[in-house]
Symmetry: C5
Subunit: 350 residues, 5 copies
């Protein structure tokens, strides 16, 4: 939930990397394909990116690491990107958005990972720029959810090699959103565990876990909500180089987004219900404690009074001299005890 | 509330069944009718589906069981369905939706059943594809709410045999929604029982039941809300082969949907109120317990102090030697007791 | 809040009465009027309804009782009503709605009555069908809020006899909505009583009454909310036989509806506030109880300890032999008592 | 919050005064002005109103008191007002609204006053009817927020004498809304006082005051919310006799309305927060009380047990005969006491 | 949260300063630039403002201090501003807004500062009026967030010197919104501290801090929400002297606004969660206290009763004479003690 913005006040278009410092090398890889041809490899020289975009193929250039702004700037420059995009590429706290710059379209998405140890969602920014025949993608770190797409391109599985660049972008979005389902699955498992824990062994830690879970749901929600409008705008875009079919696929992704939002809202409702149950369980426990205290005190305080009476040292106390005074006192005490027990039975206290 | 999605990352259009594993045979049945003719039977060969759709009749092909994707694929293929529909047919966690593919329309609905033992709603996905002269329906399991429609077709009751395929689809939707009313009825009975239980004998289990009931309502809501838009879009569709009259019937179904949503919201309000009453009942009980404890303790603690005083062993305690010391002490104690009782009476504690 | 729907699965247009069984006779009365003429009476033969609708008069046919579907069907048939209307006429759990069938318009309203004994709102369905020169109204029971309109027609008071059928319908709607004001008045009186009770003598019953009141408000809300859209649609309808002036009157009724909705929301807010106050009052009382217990226990427990000390039977306890041991002990105890009292005074406990 | 409607069932247009009974005389005053001329006075004869509206001046006729319907009717008649306006003029529980009747426009506003003694908002209905060259205003009582406008007209301050009647109406609305700011100021002062009281000396009365304050805010909200739409509609009206400039001024008033709504919502949020703080303060106090009780009881109950042991009268109790038995017992008791104190210290109870 | 409005009732356009009284001199500075030229300085004579606006340069005139209305009036007069703007310039409680007056545009923004000592947001009104070639800005106090823009103009950094006045206005808005990010950062740090405090050492003060934080968030929200619409309207404005490029930059600022609103809503959710955790922590503590009391009381009250029994002075009590009566009593007491301890162990109380 950290809000980071060290760049306050600089002229727009200034590239300032706003993430954690890193020393890893930035890795630039490319895939160039059409139905018949396929090439892939690493790009060592960021200035030379543009030569990979040929008229009759789709070129996907993926950049892992955005912490060295001078390299990102070189890549952006050879594609002639607007300075505001350059600024956004390295500013890692963006909301998902879609911006049409005419020749190319700029997309920001968030790729999520669920850290099961801390019940926390880790979020990585993925920027995608695409136009006729090329797709540029920028990620904060190596490792992503796109390997399955790479495999499909390599092995010419599905129709991806026969489609234009917008279909590749659709596939990337689809992978990211499919991954949200996996996270939702983990979250809903965790919430089921919490429900179990609440019924068998609630503790203050349970409430804390509910709170953490709520935080994770909020994080997920922030990443998913803007997608609704984003995909809907993508669908409505009419560019001459778009395949007609992509709209169908985007509608499918849109449905998934709605389904995820739906599930998120349901999980929120359930979590709110769990908080209520927790509080009422605590309240019930206190009630139990109070009942025990009250039963013990209510039974023994009068008895203690009775024995106190006959512990007095008055010279003239006739009962003390009676032969059956002691058993009679026991009789009274047992009677009081039984009346009390009956009273609590009738009150259904045990 | 399970979120299931094993198919993450596969190319779109890949058919992956996402439900529980099953071994039952898939049953494909058909009904072929117009005003004068009627045929029904089982289809053994899924490739041969298409031959049942004749120009002047309506053919309804119903498939019970979607766990064997190769069979579903064959059926879908002979009707020329889009790969995305094939994928959705076997993916059982869809939200109700309506998609127009030009020649045919694809509908997803959820058929619900109320499991009274666990106060839980079971949800089954029903996919309907229909075009001129044919209706395809896919269900997860055998057994549905459509028998009454089959009977009407067989016995030529009502106008169904004289109408086109869109009227059959309307009838299917109507059956599913009519069934929601039955579920609502059961839910509202259960909630009335809970209300009763809350007033006579509330226990932590009552709160749990309220929570379960809330979950059931949420499940129902998820199935019903999207219907509003779905039916409204269905109404607005203008296809040349639609009967003009169907629009009237869809308006009727739309009204029912609104009525169900209305009732769901009312039940939610009532359940929220029940939680409040439960919590305040618990609070009141604690109050009662505290009052009893306080009355007993407040009356006997001072009396015990008094008898303690005359239990001291000082050599020089004049009262101990008085002839009426003992009755006098009793007098004082009775006075203290009465003052206390009067005090609590005035405070209206009993 | 009962949800009733015994007709699940029947073909649309089937008339099934969904209310409680009754044996009363159905009463059909008519009023036929224009500026100069006026006739009224009972219709014995339901098939003959249509003959009362003459070209230059307005005929209002009112039916009290809808439990004998064959009679309702006859009436509906002679006016050529759509089967879906017939079905709705006898299905008593409809939401207020307005449907335009071309030649006639179908309206469903809910007439309410406040049962002061149980603090409960009783709701009766009123169906109105009207076209050029005729108004049909169907009610569940005899007795309604329209007598004042009948009187106005009979005595030619106001402009009603000079207006067309849509003005009569407006008058019926106006009567029903005026009646909502009376119910709101009773509800707000009851809520004021509850507020009073809460401040002087709150009990668990008070909370229950608040809950009941909330239920009544929800019931009222369900009847009023749809009116907003209904009347607005009525206003926008342009039929050649409508008086131009009716639109002004409908605007007035629309204002009343908004005002009622406004008041309902306010009453809900107030009731929510009352729940809060109730809970905090209970909490305060518990606080009071705890304070008394704590004061008594905190004062007497130490004193009882002191007298316990000198009740020990050790052979060698010098204090027991002192001549002023006993008064000294009293001195110590009084000192302890005073310190305690001062401490509670400073804590402002009494 | 009283809902009043004695007129239920009367024909529309019937004038029924719905306020409290009064005996004061109704006062009708007029102001007639243009840039060069100015006249003012009282109108004794309500039938003669119309003669004050001359072609080249603006006439403002103000009526204080609406409890004598026959007089109001006379005034309304000479301006040819619609019967529904007549009805509304004397029905004092209207919501703010704006209705265009072609030749004239009908406005209902609510003038508020804050009764500081009861922390209650008093609301008075102001009806304004205006057309070319005339403005009619009706108030329930004498005394209003318009004196400053009268002064401006008399002394020809500002541009009001050079403007048309719509500018005068704008000025009246502006005065009423400016007055809302004063009320908001008082309310926010009161809420600040409550915040103070909550921190220094909370009592059940504080909660009650919060509840009252909430009621006042709700009342204010009911008067202000409809203004948003009202003024926006006023702005959009295009009448040939409107000054072009008035739109600018209405935009200004619209901004004020938004600002008031904004502040109202903020105050509601703050009040909701105060309720939370109150409840948690009560809860904290109970905690304090419980701690004291627990400390005292936990320390003295074991000590009392120890002295009880040596108060037993067994013949064979060796300790009783020991020479140092008594001081040893004191030693044990002091040790127990210190252990307890240390335990509570570690728990940070004092 | 103070609501101030001393000007109630004055004619519109009257300038009344509504802030705190001040004695500082009003400082008027100017910057006049185009790509090649640059001038800056102080303006001593407010009437002479207009001479700084030359045809081919952009002139930015900044006024620090608005408490002397006669000076503000002079400046406004030489730019021919509408009286309503003059009134608004010195009325410091405006909501952010954008008004198009044809030749010039009037903007109100709020510049915020976070006072870390009191956890309070200080808000200052910034009014901007701009047209072709000039930008006027008015602030309440000296000191702002624009120094970085001034530096950029002076040193001709970025493209600002080559752009028109609307770009300068964009830069001012951007600076103000960038500053909101810094405030959000501080707020989220504070909230993290609160979260920490809640888990380690919660106290009533923690709740108060949460309440204060909520207040700050509300203040921030009031300043940011209207910006959404404001910037969107700015974007849609089409003026002939606007650079085409500014729209891109405004879209960027719009994104930032959405991001801020998003974060604000998240912080509100988190704060609401913290209140819940606080209340449940208090409740848990009470539970702990009650448990200790109950354990001690439940163990010792029965034991004290037993020793009381053998403290009675009956003549005929056989046990007192038994040789092993005393150790036997101890045995019973130890047994009771152990049973109690086992019972609490099984209840998992310690």
């Amino acid at each position: 939930m950290k809000v980071i913005k060290q760049k306050s006040g600089l002229p727009p278009g200034t590239m300032v990397y706003t993430g954690e410092e890193k020393t890893e090398k930035i890795k630039i890889s490319y895939m160039d394909y059409n139905d018949g041809n396929f090439n892939e490899g690493l790009i060592e020289n960021p200035d030379a990116c543009r030569k990979y975009t040929k008229p009759d193929t789709v070129s996907w250039i993926n950049v892992d690491g955005i912490h060295r702004t001078e390299i990102i700037e070189k890549i952006a420059t050879c594609f002639g990107l607007h300075p505001l995009i350059m600024e956004d590429l390295v500013n890692i706290r963006q909301r998902p958005k879609l911006e049409d710059y005419g020749d190319y379209i700029y997309l920001v998405l968030r790729m999520l990972e669920f850290n099961e140890k801390d019940d926390e969602i880790l979020s990585e920014q993925v920027s995608i720029i695409f136009g006729e025949g090329f797709v540029l993608s920028f990620q904060e770190n190596e490792g992503d959810v796109f390997d399955i797409i790479r495999e499909r391109i390599r092995s010419n599985k599905g129709k991806i090699r026969r489609m234009t660049s917008d279909y590749l972008v659709y596939s990337l979005i689809d992978s990211i959103i499919d991954n949200y389902f996996l996270i939702l699955e983990k979250l809903s498992d965790k919430i089921e565990d919490l429900e179990e824990e609440l019924l068998t062994n609630p503790s203050p830690e349970t409430l804390l876990k509910i709170h953490q879970m709520k935080g994770a749901i909020i994080e997920l929600r922030r990443s998913v909500w803007p997608l609704r409008e984003l995909i809907s705008n993508f669908q409505k875009m009419e560019k001459k180089n778009f395949s007609k079919d992509t709209a169908f696929y985007l509608r499918d992704v849109f449905d998934h987004t709605i389904q995820i939002i739906d599930t998120i809202e349901t999980l929120r409702d359930i979590l709110a219900g769990l908080t209520d149950i927790y509080l009422s369980t605590v309240s019930n426990r206190m009630n139990e404690v109070m009942k025990i205290l009250t039963i013990i005190a209510t039974i023994f305080i009068p008895l203690t009074f009775i024995v106190g009476v006959y512990g007095m040292n008055f010279k003239y106390m006739p009962e003390l001299g009676w032969e059956y005074g002691y058993p009679m006192t026991w009789g009274i005490m047992i009677a009081v005890f039984l009346i009390m027990v009956l009273y609590f039975k009738r009150k259904k206290w045990f």
